[in-house]
Every structure is written in C-alpha cells, then in structure tokens.
C-alpha cells in the first residue's frame, strides 16, 4: 500500500478504517435485512469498494459536496451521514432521510453536502457539476465530487460535464469507480480502452489511475485534485480500479456471471484488511483496538436498527406531500 501514513495523523488513519468498516458492516446488515424482508425494493452493495469513497471523502471538508449513484451507502457514510436515519430510510420509515420516500437508491443529506444517491446511471454527474458551479460562484473555495461507475463513463453526461468543467475550470473531482462491470456486462466489452482516465487528455485535465483498494493512494490522488480545484486549477478525473464482491444487486438467486477466480483474486486484496494490517504494522492499531472498533460499529448499527424499527411507517396521506416545495 501507499506509504502515506507519515503525512496523516494516526487518528485520521484510524478514522478512515473505521469508516470503511462501518460501510461494510452496514451493508452486511442491510443485505441480511433485505433478504429478511425488512428492507424493500433493491439494494446495491458497495462491499469491496470502500476505499474509494473513504479515500476521496477524507480529502474533503464538511462544506464540500458530493453526489453518488445507485450504489450509494458507501458515499453517504464516508461523507458523514447518520446511520440511524440511513437505516430508517431503508426500513421505509418516517424518520428516514427521505421520510421513507427514497429508499436505498435515493439517500441524500444536503446538510452534510451529500446530494443523493441516484438511480439513473450517469444521472448525478450534471447535478453535482452544478454544485461545483455553485461553489465557484460562492467563491469560498468549495469543491464538488461526482462518484460514478465505469458503466456511467460511457454515457453522454460524462462527456458534456467534463468538457464544461474543464472549460469553466470548475472545482470538481470526477471519480470513476471502475469495478470492471456494469451489471453483468464487463467493461472490456464496452470500453475501447481499459483506462477511463485516458479520456481526461481530451479535455486538457489530469487523468489519474489509482489502486482503488488502497485508501491512501485514493486519498493522495483526491487530496492533490482538491488542492488543484480549490486554487482554481479546474477539474481532475480520478479512476479508482476496484471490484465489487457481491452480485450487482442483493437478491436471492441473483446470478453472478463473473469468473470465480477473478472474484477471489480481488477479495484477497480486501481494502479493509489491507488497511488494518498496515495500521497494525505501523503500530497505530492492535487487534484489541480493531476489536474495539468492530464492537463500537456493531453497537452503532444495533442502535440504527433499533431507531429504524422504532420509527413509524409514514401515513398513507404523506404520499401526497413534498411533490412541490411549500
């Protein structure tokens, strides 16, 4: 792994691990509860990709804004969303972030600059580019980050927005989480080149490929891009090479056509295990510390589930509220 640790306070390094672990445990629970029928609709798990969200968001300030995709839990947690309200949303309850109207694909928390998970592939790229424009107009040095997948990188908005951001020098990070698949379709079948980052050159902006399972490598690339953006240098395209461990969506009997050997190779490069090991080797964590972290997270998750279960379902009539702003 990248040896960045000297530059980062140990607290921050542990916090990165804690966030990544929280994402993983949250989703394991969400998946269980989904299969148990307590969570509805569709759930896309981010497990295996935690270093991307956490590496990038660790380079951001509270006032910076991000947008996510259909696979949004990781970005929410990395940006600091409240597990209780997330879980309540998955449970379809009034106390959820969206009052039960959104569910897994639409969790947002504008107070922390999380502009929402988004169910349309590439649908969020333009929206968050507008947040980058807002940051530029505000003139307070804010940046905005678009997370999207390898699949989304082939859609029109990717191009339109990178060009606008480059031309207007918007303070943007475009973070492609290249997990090598769009649902069942391999990226190799839909991309002429294996590196999405190579498209950056066409807009005259930096295009960086990083090991998306190495949280420090991601952090380092994001940090440089954030500096550049804050100082008026314009956008950067960062491609995190990573992998999702699970099928495209959680579903009983959902087929996963990927090569088992490929999956296992990637699982051996578990971003969380790699980070935990490094922190242990650096002496910043020991197994007791790790266990304490696990316990704390388990505790927080139990509290989140209890909160969700205690929250009432919406009343039927609330379906007609929030169509228009009051």
């Amino acid at each position: 792994m990248t040896n960045l640790s000297p530059n980062l306070p140990p607290d921050k390094q542990r916090e990165m691990l804690r966030k990544m672990l929280t994402i993983r445990r949250f989703e394991e629970r969400a998946s269980d509860d989904y299969l148990a029928g307590k969570i509805y609709g569709v759930v896309h798990c981010y497990i295996g990709e935690e270093a991307a969200a956490v590496g990038v968001c660790s380079a951001l300030d509270h006032g910076d804004r991000i947008i996510s995709t259909h696979r949004g839990h990781g970005h929410c947690i990395a940006k600091g969303a409240d597990l209780k309200r997330m879980m309540a949303e998955l449970y379809g309850r009034q106390a959820g972030y969206c009052k039960g109207k959104g569910g897994s694909m639409h969790i947002a928390d504008f107070d922390i600059g999380m502009l929402g998970a988004n169910g349309i592939v590439a649908g969020g790229i333009a929206i968050v580019t507008g947040a980058g424009l807002a940051a530029q107009m505000e003139g307070k040095g804010g940046v905005a980050v678009s997370f999207f997948g390898d699949g989304a990188s082939n859609a029109g908005p990717f191009h339109e927005c990178l060009n606008i951001a480059a031309t207007w020098k918007l303070p943007m990070l475009y973070v492609c989480e290249n997990n090598m698949y769009a649902a069942q379709t391999p990226a190799a079948a839909t991309h002429a080149l294996s590196d999405v980052a190579s498209r950056a050159a066409g807009y005259g902006i930096p295009g960086v490929v990083v090991d998306g399972n190495d949280v420090f490598a991601v952090y380092q690339a994001a940090h440089a891009a954030v500096e550049r953006a804050r100082s008026g240098g314009g956008p950067t395209l960062i491609e995190c090479k990573t992998y999702r461990w699970r099928a495209h969506t959680e579903r009983r009997g959902q087929p996963d056509l990927r090569d088992r050997a490929e999956v296992e190779t990637w699982m051996r490069r578990d971003p969380i295990a790699m980070l935990a090991q490094q922190l242990c080797e650096q002496g910043e964590l020991d197994s007791a510390g790790l266990q304490a972290m696990e316990d704390e997270i388990a505790h927080a998750l139990e509290a989140a589930v209890a909160f969700a279960e205690a929250s009432p379902f919406p009343l039927p009539d609330q379906a007609v509220e929030d169509v228009f702003a009051s």
Partner: protein, 318 residues
C-alpha cells in the same frame, strides 16, 4: 396451448421472429440469457449504458435495411434517449417524405409495485402517445403480449412495446402455433351491460376481480382492454359506452394528460356516445405524485380493485 409467463411469451415472440428474419438484431445494456444463448453476441448485442446512442443507432440501422429491437429495459432509462425518440424516430419517416421505412421495435417495462421508488417506477406512456409518429401497446396477458409483439416486430414503423413490470411472472395460455394480434384492436375481456371499465395491463385483472365481486350483486361490468395505445381503438370503447352508459378508466399511471384523459375525451367528444352517457366519466388512476418507496406510501398511490369497485359503485349511484 401451453402456459407461459408474460415475460416468457415476450422472449418467445422475439426468438421466433429472429429465427424467421435474419435482419432482426437486438441491443440492450444487459442481454437476455436465452436469446444470447440461441443467437449469439452478433445478433444479441450487449451495449454500453448509452441509451441515446442505442436508440439512434437502431434508427440508422432500420433506415439501412435492418430490423432492430432496442430494449430500453425500464422505461425510465429511455428518457436519456428522448431526443432520438421524439425528434428522430417519430418524425424521420414523415419529414423525409416517406422515402424509406424505419422498422424498429423499442421495449420498455412500466409500472410500479416493486418498492423501487420514483425513478424506477413510472408509467409515462401518455407522454409517447402525445408524439405523432409512434405506435405503442401495453398488453395484459401472455397471449396478448406474444401476439402484439410479433405484429410489432413485423410493422414497418417505430413501435414501442410497453410491458407491465407487475405482470412479468403472471401466467396464461399461449397457442403453440404462430399467431399475431393486430395493432389497434381492443379486446373485450369481459362482457357486461351496466358499466364499461377501460383498463390497462395489471388493472385489467383488478377490473376483472371487481367485476366478479359486482356480478354477485347483480351488476354487470364490461371490461375493455384497449391493448394498443396508438392507434387507440376508439370505436370499441365508444360502442361499449353506448351500450352501458357509464365509463370508468383504470390506469396505473397518474391522470393528468394521461391515457385516461384521452379515453375520457374520445368518449365525450363523440356525439353518439355522449348522448348515451348517463354519468360523469370516472378516472381511477395513480395519485399524481412521483412514486414513493415505502410500502405504505406506494400502496396508497396506486389504484386497485377496491378503488375500481368504489368508483363503479359511485357511478351506479347516479
């Protein structure tokens, strides 16, 4: 006759037509496994997530002698391709003076009920009905699905096959032999004399259930399934209303400028039908809101047999 699901009927229709005509090929972001297995990746193309490009490419291939099927999958995903649909597919034959044909079939699943929230639960067919130059249908049974889909694939104009997400696994009898159902012909799914219910897709079944309940009470409900949205079989609807004098329209979409509004207009602008109409027209539709995620909310938004029943009772009380 065998029993097939709605979805199986569709896949069978596509497969049979593809066997018949080598000019047919299929594009979608995630290929359907049995089609891929039978026809291979040259004819069943896995594409990037770029529905605007796919739609346009389908149009260009159609104008170059092929018969593409572009599967948008959920109707939601076709909005990124809306320019190609509205400004190109619908108009290109007309604005070029009919010099070539554009035989292209689009597939799109519609509807709600899956707890997948606003972006993934939509029934926007009336938006497409409003665009001149597109044919479209929405079947309620495996039988209708297969027959309409085959007709649509053979049609020389762009046709949209709207398909009900709720009905994908519903079963029905489908003949062994080749058959087609013409576009533009409604089907009387149940005959009756007291009230006409015009319903689409899943709501055909809800309407039939309501009709069953009312039959026990001595009320005779006629259930008309237009099947095709464009061209709409206005004659069939009008004849039925002329007979019953009462009209209820049941639609999983919201009412505003919807299919339901069009049916109301088609009935009330016809002098002969208007003359026999004994009660106000009734629309039993989804609430005019984006579709929410939580089951309590989602259930509240959609119409069902109970709301149809209540609607019919109100009409009869007049």
């Amino acid at each position: 006759m065998r029993e097939l699901t709605y979805n199986e009927a569709a896949v069978e229709a596509v497969a049979e037509e593809m066997r018949r005509d080598p000019k047919i090929f299929y594009m979608s972001t995630d290929p359907i496994p049995p089609l891929l297995k039978e026809f291979g990746p040259q004819r069943i193309k896995a594409t990037p997530i770029a529905e605007a490009a796919l739609t346009g490419m389908g149009i260009g291939a159609a104008g170059s002698g092929f018969r593409p099927i572009v599967d948008w999958r959920q109707v939601t995903f076709c909005f990124v391709a809306m320019d190609q649909i509205v400004n190109q597919a619908a108009k290109i034959h007309y604005m070029f003076g009919g010099q070539v044909t554009f035989p292209i079939l689009f597939r799109a699943s519609v509807g709600g009920g899956g707890r997948i929230a606003a972006q993934h639960s939509q029934s926007p067919y009336s938006m497409f009905m409003n665009v001149a130059g597109l044919k479209m249908y929405l079947p309620s049974t495996p039988y209708d699905m297969k027959g309409l889909l085959k007709t649509a694939i053979r049609d020389n104009s762009p046709v949209i096959s709207f398909e009900s997400g709720r009905l994908m696994t519903s079963k029905g009898q489908v003949p062994d032999e080749d058959y087609t159902i013409p576009l533009g012909k409604a089907d009387v799914k149940r005959e009756g004399s007291d009230v006409t219910v015009v319903a689409l897709a899943w709501l055909v079944h809800e309407a039939l259930a309501a009709a069953e309940t009312l039959a026990d009470e001595g009320v005779s409900v006629e259930v008309i399934d237009p099947r095709t949205l464009v061209p709409l079989d206005a004659d069939a609807i009008r004849s039925s209303v002329q007979k019953t004098g009462r009209l209820l329209i049941a639609d999983e979409a919201g009412p505003t400028a919807g299919f339901s509004a069009e049916v109301a207009a088609v009935v009330t602008e016809d002098a002969a039908t208007f003359a026999r109409l004994n009660a106000p027209v009734r629309r039993v539709c989804a609430l005019q809101v984006p579709i929410p995620y939580s089951p309590v909310l989602e259930n509240h938004v959609f119409p069902d047999r109970n709301r149809i029943l209540a609607g019919i009772r109100e009409l009869l009380a007049r």
